[in-house]
């Protein structure tokens, strides 16, 4: 057998994705430290206790795009407290969680477990995808006064070995009749519904948002969908494909677990398919150079 050192050298010699710059690394480390100092504890009964006041958390939340950003308009930071849209919601949650944690609840409601979502920071308001490090991110939010879960997942669907497997944005008419699902098996987009094969009009439709077309699926959450909404509830997932990227925005009614620092408007908890699709078109992202991750 060849020397193990040679093997390692050869494995490591392949093409590599770009690495975070030192500026980005410093920014990420500073932010993590700041968050740690803001404080977050987990109670002995497994209930998350956020040691925050509304003022602190809202102050930490980043500016987010105005609603028109979803239609591709230039984005300008907005100010003011409160949670007005999905981006605000994700912002508020990201601001109160330590960098490496997100919170999900066991479907049976028995316990709270943490889920490592180091990239939750990337789920931020932003203007587009340029510069975003391609990752799988999944931010899950439970709002205490209006049971709900909003998840955003960004899945890198590229593969070096077979370019044909890369996801591409299907034409409008192809969303619900594609012979096979996109590469990979991101659980949220296929949960309880299997693959996209033969997806019928009853649970799958396409919506135009600006010049983008977004697939929206309705799915029944089954009991074996861990850490997600309660079994039996209906969830909606809006999926957008970009070259090499699959973006899912998912909304489910869910049990409540943690308190957010500001009220969530009822309208947000009743996202329409159109609103969901708009979120998928303009995902809440900022370039990695800004977020540090």
């Amino acid at each position: 057998m060849r020397d193990v050192r040679e093997i390692f050298a050869e494995v490591a010699a392949g093409p590599t994705p770009p690495m975070a710059s030192s500026e980005v690394m410093v920014a990420a480390a500073r932010r993590a430290e700041r968050r740690r100092r803001l404080g977050l504890t987990t109670g002995s009964a497994g209930v998350l206790v956020l040691a925050l006041t509304a003022g602190v958390a809202v102050g930490v939340a980043r500016p987010r795009p105005e609603p028109e950003a979803a239609a591709g308009a230039p984005v300008s930071p907005s100010s003011g407290p409160g949670i007005r849209d999905g981006a605000d919601l994700l912002d508020a949650v990201a601001a109160v969680l330590p960098a490496e944690l997100a919170i999900r609840r066991d479907p049976a409601g028995r316990d709270v477990r943490t889920r490592d979502v180091a990239d939750v920071d990337t789920v931020r308001p932003g203007t587009g995808l340029a510069g975003v490090r391609l990752i799988a991110a999944d931010a899950v939010v439970y709002a205490s006064w209006g049971a709900g879960e909003l998840g955003v997942s960004i899945r890198d669907a590229r593969t070096a070995r077979d370019p044909a497997l890369r996801s591409v944005e299907p034409a409008a008419g192809e969303f619900c009749s594609r012979p096979a699902g996109p590469p990979g098996n991101w659980p949220d987009s296929t949960a309880a519904g299997g693959s996209d094969a033969g997806g019928g009009a009853a649970d799958c439709r396409s919506l135009a948002v600006g010049d983008k077309v977004v697939r929206v699926r309705t799915e029944q959450v089954s009991g074996d969908d861990p850490g997600s909404a309660a079994p039996g509830v209906t969830c909606w997932t809006a999926t957008r494909f970009l070259p090499g990227l699959e973006i899912n925005v998912r909304w489910c009614p869910a049990a409540t677990t943690i308190a957010l620092p500001a009220p969530v408007p009822q309208a947000l908890l009743e996202l329409t398919a159109e609103q969901l699709a708009a979120l998928a078109v303009e995902p809440v992202l900022v370039p990695a150079v800004v977020t540090g991750r």
Binding site: F8, E10, M19, S22, D116, A136, R155, A157, P183
Partner: protein
């Protein structure tokens, strides 16, 4: 434990950035050899450097720093492997995420080697990477992984044997004419 407050942060940030520039790529490669996924490797590296930033003032010798960061990378990797939800994300080939299709005669070989490494249990893989990529002694590996030296030796031997068996099998398969069954 001293609490670092942000006074003098500019100096700290400059020093930290310089250290990251000098060693980050190497740490990421080590992380990649451990996990086989460049994006996860990036995450492991960032976890390690984020923790390092926290205690930057208290750890100021480069040899110690290297060891400290390496230890966090390895432990973060082993923690990752223990989390059941990791299974949710093991979609697509291990090298998914690279920007372009890779052409060239070495690709099949590299993929075979990667697959062989991926087959090793996480701890055996960590032992091999630390021993033969990072050139650490048995004692250093034992200290880093909190294992007895004898366990490191046995895991080294077992890991090498598995790797050998897997690569021998690969080699045999590839040299067999197409269509011929084993």
């Amino acid at each position: 434990m001293g609490l670092y407050l942000f006074g003098g942060g500019d100096d700290r940030d400059r020093e930290f950035a310089a250290y990251y520039s000098a060693t980050g790529a190497r740490m990421r490669t080590t992380a990649f050899l451990l996990c086989g996924d460049w994006h996860l490797a990036e995450d492991l590296t960032q976890i390690a450097f984020t923790k390092l930033y926290r205690s930057w003032r208290r750890v100021n010798h480069h040899e110690v720093l290297d060891q400290y960061v390496r230890r966090i990378v390895v432990r973060a990797f082993l923690d990752e492997r223990r989390r059941p939800w990791r299974r949710e994300f093991t979609a697509g080939p291990a090298d998914a995420g690279l920007d372009r299709a890779v052409e060239g005669p070495d690709v099949a070989e590299r993929l075979a080697l990667s697959a062989a490494l991926a087959d090793l249990p996480a701890r055996e893989r960590a032992v091999l990477v630390l021993r033969f990529w990072e050139d650490l002694s048995i004692e250093q590996v034992a200290e880093m992984l909190a294992l007895p030296a004898g366990t490191v030796k046995s895991q080294t031997a077992r890991g090498l044997a598995r790797l050998r068996a897997r690569l021998d099998r690969e080699s045999t398969d590839r040299s067999r004419p197409m269509g011929e069954k084993r």
